[in-house]
């Protein structure tokens, strides 16, 4: 308690969320550090060896992440740095949906997965009505397939459509 909390936070502020970033980076550094002993350290006359750079980088990330954690704690109670969390839940859903889209490409193929994902996005985000969303989703998918598959000659995942693409 520093006794300086005189002003209320902004309606959507949730400063504790700021801790996510330094804690994530520190966790990543620890995740890499745990794997360090598993790296074959045979150096073949090399003075530093293959573990040196990862060790230095892990150390740098831990140090800077720690400093960042301290900085975040310091600004945590400062209303001037109030964090706006509005839309964060929506962002997380959107990010999960995008990850699901890439995963679905392996099973449904590019055209089907893209079509469904784009239609869903148009319908959900811009609330344009189902028919307009379907047209836009199919149109965008067709353009992307035409550019990447037919113009640039890139073989996209086909899925159940098989030789249709």
């Amino acid at each position: 308690m520093n006794g300086t909390k005189t002003q209320p936070h902004a309606p959507h502020s949730a400063n504790w969320l700021r801790l996510i970033m330094p804690l994530s980076f520190i966790s990543l550094a620890i995740g890499f550090a745990v794997q360090l002993p598993g790296i074959d350290a045979t150096s073949n006359g090399d003075i530093l060896g293959p573990r040196w750079m990862p060790t230095v980088a892990v150390g740098a990330l831990l140090l800077s992440g720690g400093a960042d954690l301290v900085r975040t704690f310091r600004i945590n109670n400062d209303p001037a740095h109030a964090f706006d969390r509005s839309g964060l839940l929506l962002a997380v859903i959107l990010l999960i949906a995008t990850a699901a889209y890439v995963t679905a490409m392996a099973f449904l193929g590019y055209a089907l997965a893209s079509g469904i994902f784009f239609i869903a996005l148009f319908y959900w985000i811009s609330s344009q009505g189902l028919v307009r969303s379907i047209w836009k989703g199919i149109g965008l998918t067709a353009v992307l397939v035409a550019v990447f598959h037919f113009v640039l000659g890139i073989s996209l995942p086909t899925g159940p459509l098989g030789g249709f693409l």
Binding site: F25, A29, P54, L61, L90, A91, L94
Partner: protein
């Protein structure tokens, strides 16, 4: 054959109607390829390679030169208008180019970008024509120790321009360096953090990281604005061309960027990424308005853009004179030359003079064709800003993910792009700069390998490593870069104190 005779021979080849048409086609295709996230000049040339098998080698190389220059400029268009850098060399252009577009100065930013690309390209090509043999000798004297010092200087430089976000920048650069260690260790063959995924054996894909951090996160952020009804379509205010004040601020930045880009571009492996970072840091240090950087400073667009294109010409120096590719794109061009049965190197200018000088003269022609093509297209590119926001954002997301997949036909890399999209989204929200992460990732491998090789060559002695003249100069420059901003207030106080006492 002297330089003038060589150029005369080269221009007679470049101005042949077929070759001129190929230059125009190359520039046109290059612009569009460069605008696609993930598809930079290297991917563009690789895509066109199969179509050139039956062609005359000189004509094929002329087409590639057009694609190379066109793609370098194309990357800046998507960086400025959509905040999507096509490749690592365009990342710095995004920092001020997109804020300029958001302020209604998209046309000015594109004009400055085209003019800077032309200026940088010209400086680079003149340097290539006149100084190629001398500079290639200098480049050879750049051993692993010197490369290590240069990488350290680049990292210190990037930290120096992180005003107000030093700690977050250090976190980002450290994470980038750590990510760069993923993959097979080049020296010992040891697997590092690959999680048994073959896609990670060559390391984390730089393209996937860049596209994720910038394009995917930008598209997701844009969609959220649409959902909340806070999306503000970007509009062009005032004249499309850059104002007199913008030109005045950008003119010397173009020249400095061109010089920096050429010098760094000559060094094999250093490439456009470091050149643009150096140029941006230099402009920020020299500018009378450093507070405007990151908010739409014209110098922040002009310097890196000139450096980007000059480095393309610089990278041709070791390719043509030594047979060493200076960048990813020249590595693809080296492969193409070898497919045609031509071995680049010291003998190229004697055994295949028409090809060597044809390529050099075509760089001049491509540079002019590009600026003539780019300026009229500015008005068309600006129309992209009028596309409905939701369609634009979904389109960016689709192109980004497909572009990353297209590089290696890998869904894992597309997933990596999405993962970095998530990271980029949160980094942006929490005020973490993303450019240092890209620089850390780009330099990590080269930094490590250079240091380890240098120490082997010096018998494990750190002292003899730092006693090398170029190394000690670069490390001294690092110390200056770190100390000068801290010493400046002390010097000012000392000066004002002595003035008062007088």
């Amino acid at each position: 054959m002297d330089t003038l005779q060589g150029l005369a021979l080269g221009f007679s080849t470049s101005f042949a109607p077929v070759n001129l048409a190929l230059t125009v086609l190359g520039c046109f295709l290059g612009i569009w390829i460069g605008m696609m996230p993930g598809l930079g000049p290297a991917a563009g040339i690789a895509l066109l390679l199969p179509f050139t098998y039956g062609m005359d080698p000189t004509s094929a190389l002329i087409l590639f030169c057009g694609v190379y220059f066109g793609a370098m400029y194309g990357g800046s268009i998507s960086s400025i208008l959509l905040a999507i850098p096509g490749d690592a060399g365009s990342v710095m252009t995004t920092l001020d180019g997109n804020p300029m577009a958001r302020k209604g100065r998209a046309g000015a930013a594109l004009f400055l970008s085209a003019a800077s690309s032309f200026t940088g390209g010209t400086i680079g090509i003149v340097g290539l024509t006149l100084l190629a043999p001398t500079i290639s000798k200098l480049a050879i004297s750049f051993g692993p120790a010197e490369y290590f010092a240069l990488m350290v200087f680049a990292l210190v430089g990037v930290v120096s321009f992180l005003q107000g976000a030093m700690v977050q920048g250090l976190v980002a650069v450290s994470f980038g360096l750590l990510l760069g260690t993923v993959g097979i260790d080049m020296q010992s063959g040891a697997m590092r953090f690959t999680l048994d995924q073959p896609e990670l054996y060559d390391g984390v894909s730089l393209i996937a990281v860049i596209v994720g951090l910038y394009s995917v996160s930008e598209a997701l952020e844009g969609m959220l604005h649409v959902k909340h009804g806070t999306a503000t379509p970007m509009a062009q205010h005032g004249k499309i061309r850059a104002s007199r004040a913008e030109w005045l601020r950008a003119r010397w930045a173009m020249v400095r960027g061109g010089l920096i880009g050429f010098i760094v571009g000559v060094l094999p492996g250093a490439g456009a990424t470091i050149a643009t970072f150096f140029s941006y840091a230099t402009e920020m240090k020299l500018s009378k308005h450093p507070e405007e950087f990151g908010k739409g400073a014209p110098e922040g667009v002009a310097g890196p853009e000139a450096a980007n294109n000059a480095s393309a010409s610089g990278a041709m120096v070791p390719l043509l004179t030594l047979g060493i590719p200076g960048s990813g794109t020249t590595a693809v061009m080296l492969g193409a030359l070898m497919i045609y049965g031509i071995q680049p190197g010291p003998q190229l200018f004697t055994e295949h003079a028409a090809i060597a000088w044809g390529v050099i003269s075509d760089l001049y022609v491509s540079n002019i064709v590009l600026v003539l093509m780019a300026i009229p297209l500015v008005g068309i590119f600006i129309k992209m800003l009028k596309i409905e926001q939701m369609l634009l954002n979904v389109g960016i997301l689709g192109i980004s993910i497909t572009g990353v997949y297209a590089v290696n036909l890998s869904l894992v890399e597309a997933a990596i792009a999405v993962a970095f999209g998530v990271l980029g989204f949160f980094m942006r929200r929490f005020g973490y700069p993303t450019a240092p992460l890209v620089l850390g990732l780009t330099l990590s491998r080269l930094l490590e390998q250079s240091l380890r090789q240098a120490l082997i060559l010096e018998g494990g002695s750190w002292l003899s490593l730092i006693q090398r003249p170029i190394v000690s100069m670069l490390l001294a420059a690092c110390v200056l870069v770190v100390l000068l901003p801290r010493l400046r207030p002390l010097l000012t106080r000392f000066k004002s104190g002595s003035a008062t006492s007088q």
